[in-house]
């Protein structure tokens, strides 16, 4: 069914940009929540939470998905859009969903600590459902709008700010460490690694570590 956003071009994933970097990170987040969904199935079937795997997933979600990815959105991209359109509605909705997501993550972490299957399963399924819909809204609507709104100079400035997050806030090597954990969990739960896709891999490594190709 056609939507009113169809006139906006899909996010260009062939080059690093303010939105393509975040879309690439979405692929990793989807990978992790698919693992989480399978952990919930396993917990229901076996009557116990796969505690170690679930803790690893929570670490990736809290650090990679929330602190790093949502941090870039809330502190860098969203303010840039809100500066152009005061009272910009879509970012307010996305911020609200980030808050709800954190509540689900807190519930999952508490359930893991208490080995509470009945608490873990609905929290994991609720988080998975929320994030899938949230990511679809960002990729299909908000990021398309952002791509059309940002000038090349603004886009370049945002990319530079993302690099500062990776280097200064997160610390060199954190990104790769978390991606390594995400891939190790994916291997256990039979989930395709997002990094296997060359285009996604290029986006995931575009703002972390070296990128000059000179040395």
């Amino acid at each position: 069914m056609p939507s009113c956003h169809d006139h906006l071009l899909p996010v260009d994933l062939t080059r690093p940009s303010a939105v393509s970097i975040l879309s690439g990170e979405h692929r990793v987040i989807l990978q992790v929540i698919t693992c989480l969904e399978r952990m919930a199935v396993q917990a229901t079937r076996e009557g116990r939470i796969p505690t170690g795997h679930a803790r690893s997933a929570i670490e990736v979600i809290r650090t990679f998905a929330d602190r790093c990815h949502h941090g870039k959105e809330e502190d860098i991209l969203f303010p840039a859009l809100e500066a152009q359109v005061p009272g910009f509605g879509p970012t307010a909705v996305m911020r609200e969903e980030h808050v709800i997501g954190r509540q689900y993550v807190a519930a999952m972490a508490a359930a893991i600590d208490a080995d509470d299957v009945a608490g873990f399963v609905p929290a994991a399924n609720g988080y998975t459902e929320l994030l899938r819909a949230h990511i679809a809204k960002e990729d299909d609507i908000l990021f398309r709008m952002a791509q059309a709104m940002l000038s090349p100079a603004q886009d370049a400035a945002i990319l530079e700010a993302y690099r500062a997050v990776e280097h200064d806030d997160m610390g060199d090597g954190t990104h790769e460490r978390l991606l390594g954990i995400a891939d190790a969990i994916a291997d256990v739960y039979g989930v395709e690694r997002a990094s296997n896709d060359p285009q996604t891999f290029a986006l995931l490594t575009a703002v972390c570590g070296c990128h000059t190709g000179k040395a």
Binding site: L179, G180, Y189, T205, H211, A215
Partner: protein, 93 residues
């Protein structure tokens, strides 16, 4: 398919090999043109990371030793190269 036989927590070694695999791919992507050995190194690390139980044969260690010039980054090497070589060196112990 879902494999429940792998012990929890995620084995540090599996996560570390996945990290090194990503680093090796990145280093190959960025530096492979000037340093062709990095492209070959990425292939070796990818094979090791996908091996059952992440087993590393002596011949793999020898090949990595050679491709990394005995785990010695070139003088102007970036942080990713240094992190990769240090991680591969640590696998020996």
């Amino acid at each position: 398919m879902h494999n429940c036989s792998i012990p929890e927590p995620i084995a540090d070694r599996a996560a570390e090999l996945s990290r090194l695999r990503l680093l090796a791919r990145k280093v190959a992507l960025v530096h492979g043109g000037h340093h062709p050995a990095m492209t070959e190194l990425a292939t070796v690390v990818d094979r090791i990371a996908g091996a059952p139980q992440n087993a590393i044969a002596d011949t793999d260690h020898a090949q990595i030793h050679q491709l990394t010039a005995a785990y010695t980054p070139w003088p102007e090497a970036c942080g990713s190269v240094r992190a990769l070589f240090a991680g591969l060196h640590a696998l020996r112990s």
